[in-house]
Amino acid sequence: MQARPARSSSILGWLLESRNGLGLLFMLPAAVFLLCFLTYPLGLGVWLGFTDARIGREGIFIGLENYIWLFDDPVFWLSVFNTMLYTVVASVLKFALGLWLALILNQHLPFKTFFRAIILLPWVVPTVLSALAFWWIYDSQFSIISYVLMNLGVINEPINFLGDPTNARASVIAANVWRGIPFVAISLLAGLQTIPQSLNEAAALDGATSWQRFTKITLPLLTPIIAVVMTFSVLFTFTDFQLIYVLTRGGPVNATHLMATLSFQRAIPGGQLGEGAAIAVAMIPFLLAAILFSFFGLQRRKWQQGGGD
């Protein structure tokens, strides 16, 4: 009883001796790190979106003016549409092809390890480098694809990959899918290997077809992994920047401008920091929705265990 007042008088003493205090102390570095490098920039970004800040010059609070302007800016809405299209199409393709690849790699193939290693290549190559390679592949005059098809007599003139809005969107999505598949495939492969072989064997003995085994055993057991992998994949795709910046800079006529690239264009070369920040902030609801969907939609226990809702 005598020690108590002495202890409470010294905060340091309390921190060092109490279990909770010590815990707090140990968490402090991480908390400071998160505050400095995550909360502060995010908060600053949100704040800038409400100001008319320009590069190097502090802005004044202008309320929702940036958002009101963006609301009737067709270029902004086009970028929202492009971002949605890009994310949805690329993510679905990445998921389908990635899962397929994972299933193949999970079979007993010759040179299995070799294939598993090589599949990672597109993911390992720095994005800018692969984007530069795609830039040449899609060049309006020197595309290898056009060259081959022209020599085969399939087409008469080079394909206008990045000049036509539809082609340009398809081209950048294809490049993104190529780059994103390995991440999905390897992660799902890891998930597949955690599924006990005995379940499949038991089902096979009961006469289940391989399709039934896939839909009733593999898929439900894989959902937690799918949820995590696809959340990440969607987030990466949604915030993609490098690929677009190298390939088209958002052209032709903004047909491939994503919210991230538009935000950069307006904020840094354009100097309109406030407006750029507002575009970046406008991405947050979409990202939150994607996260919430995957966590509450895909991670429901019942569904994972094969039951209905």
Binding site: I55, N160, T248, R249, G250, G251, P252, V253, G270, G271
Partner: protein, 438 residues
Amino acid sequence: MTINRRRFLSGTAGLAAGGLLAGTLGTRHALAQASASMFTPEEGATLRLLRWVPFVTGEEETWNANTAAFTEATGVEVRIDQESWEDVRPKAAVAANVGSGPDMVMSWFDDPFQYPDKLVDVTDLANALGEEHGGWYEGLEGYARQDDKFIAVPLCAIGNAICYRDSHMKAAGFSEFPQDTDGFLELCKAMKAKGTPAGFPHGKAVGDGNNYAHWLLWSHGGMTVDESGAVAINSPETKAAIDYAKALYETFIPGTESWLDINNNRAFLAGEVSLTANGVSLYYAAAKDEAMKEIAEDIRTTNLPVGPVGTSVELHQTSTISIFNHCQYPQAAKAYLAFMYQADRMNAWLEGASAYCCQALKGFENNPVWTSNPVHAPYAKASASLRPNGYAGPLGPASAGVMADYVLVDMFAEAVTGQRSAEEAISNAERRIARYYR
């Protein structure tokens, strides 16, 4: 070769001057011209210059040699930092407003107008230089002077000119390059018919795309805003410019709407297009490559044709140098700039840049570089035809924002690709411009 010899000579001259004066009281008497003796560096001064990454090695070498000669003559160390050209703007803006970092910046276009109150008034220096060297070109002066005050010293224009294949033009039935926009359209049609088409970028090419779009608009008398900064894009002139652009686009090689800055160079050097506009670097890319000798010998250059407006008007890239208020040694900085603009220094630099940089002062128009190769000649006129962006309005964040957001590039691209009608493209551009000039 000539450049190297020149550099060697100027270098030794600097050394000799420095050596002679080492024992005397000051260095000001060594410098013959008036502007040179106007400023005496502060005791113990050092300077830092932020510049864009050089495009031509000869330019960098002569600039550095001139700087070394300045250090030799005055004892003032000058550190030169390089940033890729698109990064100079944000770096300089932050330096200006934070109040630390480089003392001087070699920046692009209307950058000084983003933070005019953070810059040292250089009117005395600029006026002295102007008087000594035949005056500043009007367009370049526009990028440096706010009302009656110089907030920057114009450095150079990076010229843009048409590069074409002479043999292909002749094969299309033209012996002379047409000087007006109508004749130019006919030439492009004829070249298209011969299978040697032209190509200008309608994509997000920061340099070439903006040069082309501004020329289209200005040569037809269009303007983004009037003198007071009120939006003036919606005009019959703009409509005429768009109609002309559409007709010209019909004659282009397919795919120009995806072109970034490098695409026209690639297509030209591969023989896919026979006419485009570019800096002199395109010619040198061919001239330096043994395999492209044939193309290099066939390349001719000329200025962009004159439109209904009656005179040659172009954007070009423009660079100026400004001194930040936070510079501790403004006299030294002015002395440095005065030194770099001395006739022999500036001439050596212009020659080192091998026609890439066009003089800002009329007195340097007889620099031997312009006559050393006929290909260089059109680039000599860059500063004369140059018009500041955001014409006819004031320079500032609005003019810079409109260009960085590709408003004009988009307007023409929307119309020529048929994505919008000319009227819709104009009203969309009008909206976007109004936003920046609110």
